[in-house]
């Protein structure tokens, strides 16, 4: 694909390995870079919001994006208590990119998954969630065709007007290997971000997330074939219906409770 005139910026964060909790390149951000490199090659710009940490393992994690063949990562420096969304938005406004790529959600920190939405709002751009691929770009009509990842391997083709923000799903192509040499030699270009202090978060209390309880699936299948079906079948959400009226609603709730053996 030759999309030479296209300006694509990929946002990268420092990820966290799920078991060792060590910093690493975030899986979705790495996929975003992969997608970006395939789209525009060397023209891909990369932005990381934050300063270069003194911590060696944090640096190595950030450098591992460079190891994918980028020549540099732009660092948008901001104080710790800054509101990253506003700082990034301010920066991106000046850059006028056609496409902004992010992960779906960060691997640590707030990990709310809100960043792409908030940026889209700030920049007044379209936002496509969980894309797996950018199929084509029509630079004349300023339109792109993207493939959105849905659960269970389903895909939906969408047309979206440039410029837009897309969050890249785990279903996107695997990121290329990060090579040590280029990772060590790549450069960081620092820019000072605007100052926007995050007023709210200073009052927050942070606790570790708990795993949500999950309903056990009870399968009463008799044959192997049935079990196989039960394990692979798409959970049918057929039970849901819109109920009007107090009586009916109460009846529906009561029925459910009876069904579950709770009353």
């Amino acid at each position: 694909m030759s999309n030479n005139n296209l300006s694509v910026i990929s946002l990268v964060s420092i990820g966290e390995h799920p078991t060792s909790r060590r910093p690493r390149r975030a899986e979705q951000d790495a996929r975003a870079i992969e997608l970006g490199i395939k789209l525009v090659g060397d023209n891909l710009q990369t932005l990381h919001a934050g300063e270069l940490s003194d911590d060696a393992s944090q640096q190595t994690a950030l450098r591992s994006y460079l190891g994918m063949g980028l020549t540099e990562i732009n660092l948008l420096e901001m104080p710790e208590n800054a509101d990253a969304v506003l700082v990034i938005a301010e920066h991106l406004k000046q850059k006028n990119p056609d496409i902004i790529l992010t992960g779906v959600r960060a691997e640590n920190g707030e990990s709310s998954g809100m960043l792409p939405y908030l940026l889209a709002e700030q920049l007044d751009m379209a936002m496509v969630t969980s894309i797996a691929e950018i199929l084509s770009i029509d630079e004349v009509n300023k339109q792109a065709e993207v493939l959105q990842a849905l659960p269970r391997g389903q895909r939906r083709k969408l047309k979206v007007d440039l410029p837009f923000i897309a969050s890249v799903d785990m279903a996107a192509a695997l990121p290329r290997q990060s090579a040590f040499g280029p990772a060590m030699r790549g450069q960081f270009e620092a820019t000072l971000g605007a100052t926007f202090t995050d007023e709210e978060s200073s009052d927050w209390q942070i606790v570790d997330a708990k795993k949500r309880p999950k309903r056990l699936k009870i399968i009463k299948a008799k044959t192997a074939a049935d079990r196989f079906k039960a394990a692979t079948a798409k959970a049918s959400g057929g039970g849901g219906k819109v109920v009007h009226g107090v009586e009916e609603s109460a009846q529906a709730i009561l029925d459910l409770l009876v069904e579950e053996g709770l009353v």
Partner: protein, 649 residues
Amino acid sequence: MSSSEFLSQFLFTLISFALLLTLVGAVKRMLLWSQGQSSTIHWLGLLQIPRRYLVDLHHVVARDKYMSNTHVATAGGFVLSSILIILLYVFQLKLQILTWALLGSSLLMFVGSIFVMIRRRNPPPNLSLGKWQRLPKSLMVFSLSFFILTLPATGILPSDTGGWLLAVLLVAGIIWGIGEMFFGMTWGGPMKHAFAGALHLGLHRRQERFGDGQSTGLKAIDLSAKKLGVEKPIDFKWNQLLSFDACVECGRCENNCPAFAAGQPLNPKKLIQDMVIGMAGGDDAKFAGSPYPGIKVGTHKGGAIIPIVNVLVESETLWSCTTCRACVDACPMMIEHVDAIVDMRRFETMEKGQTPGKGSEILENLSATDNPNGFDPSSRMNWAADQNLTVFGHDEKKQEVTEADVLLWIGDAAFDMRNQRTLRAIIKLLRAADVNFAVLGDAEFDSGDLARRLGDEATFQRLATSNISTMNKYQFKTIVTADPHAFHCIKNEYVEFGGNYNVMHHTGFFAELVNQQKLKLDNSKELALTYHDPCYLGRYNGEYDAPRFLLESMGVKIKEMDRSKSTARCCGGGGGAPVTDIPGKQRIPDMRMADVVETKAEIVAVACPQCNLMLEGVVEPRPEVKDIAELMLDALIDDVVEDMVGAQV
């Protein structure tokens, strides 16, 4: 002028001229080598060339008695004849004794050349054809011409015998002979191996290998260099380039290479020849030996400043290697194939990020969790929850220790259910022998073997230095491990990073305990058993005896496989080969299991967790796979009970 006077004058001119050309060729060849990167020049080694040729090289050649005798006659006759020819015809020292000597030496060489000729009548596939088929004829013509030429001078035949006709024939023969033997030596003929080979023996990058020494650890590289690993031929060290030129295309490496036998696209001999092509520039059309299985000869070309991978050599070729070292061990010219392969892998991994198969995932896991499969690093000791092991550390509440006689290195077998059985056996044996040992627990990282052989020197160095700094916090006399890969790394490759340890493989350690009667084994086991030598224990570290001693102590008569000890066939598990998983016609472990079945053994004893997995991965029915430690545990005579009874009486 008589024909003999003419000959004498003509020879002076011809030989002087040929020597001059040879010299020019030699300088040109040296310039080719000097394109390589700098590396220590071991000048003193040059003095050792004759010794190294006669002892070290012939030690390897002599595995094929026929060839070693043939080579002694031919090469000895040639070297002697050359010296005499120069004295007689260039320096014109007309001494009768020299003439007689030349008569003898050329005869010797002639006899040798007949045997070369016989070997070449139906050449086995590992021998190269082409110019190498011409060589025996050239040897013959050279020796015969000088023999006949010398006859009249000794007075056996009257001078001017044969008149001008013979003179013309001799001139033709001598031009051919000298062309091949002198000129060809430095201009790329088959005799190049003698010239480059002699220098290579003297200037070898691993001087420690000579005189029965050992040097098998990979060499570290500077990670801050502008380029990591070898991309182009000129990125090799100069002495590596020289070593490639020493190859005689004997194909012994090819005969011993498991990847080649399995039909994977690797032939160590062709690889070395390709390096020569790369260094000198050209294509592989003239290569007259076996191809890389599945890749046609004549489709690749290279040059000194042209990248090697996927131009001259396909990347699959590099990644097929199990680093088993069978080629290096079999090579009479002591060429280091594995070094070259790993050098090129380093560039692929650290500069291009092109480790095939699961390589990239494994390396990322090693970075994030210090074990190749990405298990939670804090679950490293889960397997030993019931073992009550003493752990090195400073937390007295947990009864950690800072001192023990033995540091038991667990390795990544900790995460593998099959090999946990071996570990449990080892622990029982150590306890039975009252050995004071402790483990590093979660502080132990992967040894770095896999990362290094996948070309990721950076990860290797991080793991090695972390392990060293962890171990340096504690006091112990010996490291014992059941994993020959960790054994090799810690013993031979940590040294460059300041880790000097006394490391023993569990078989070596247990052999000592059995010797000292600290472990008593029931020696009435009548097992139909064979033993598979792990590459990293055998060829890398020369340990062939301890495992056999232990098996014999159990009363086992080992049914040795044809390929055993230094020629043992790899299980296919080394060098990251299972990770890169390059397809071939068959699987290496299947071939090894066929070797086992041939002995009619019902059990194959192993001494390495990787061999264990590879061989157990062969479909049933097949002989049972057991680690020596497991067999020992079965045969252990536990005299704790007897002692207790004795104490009571």
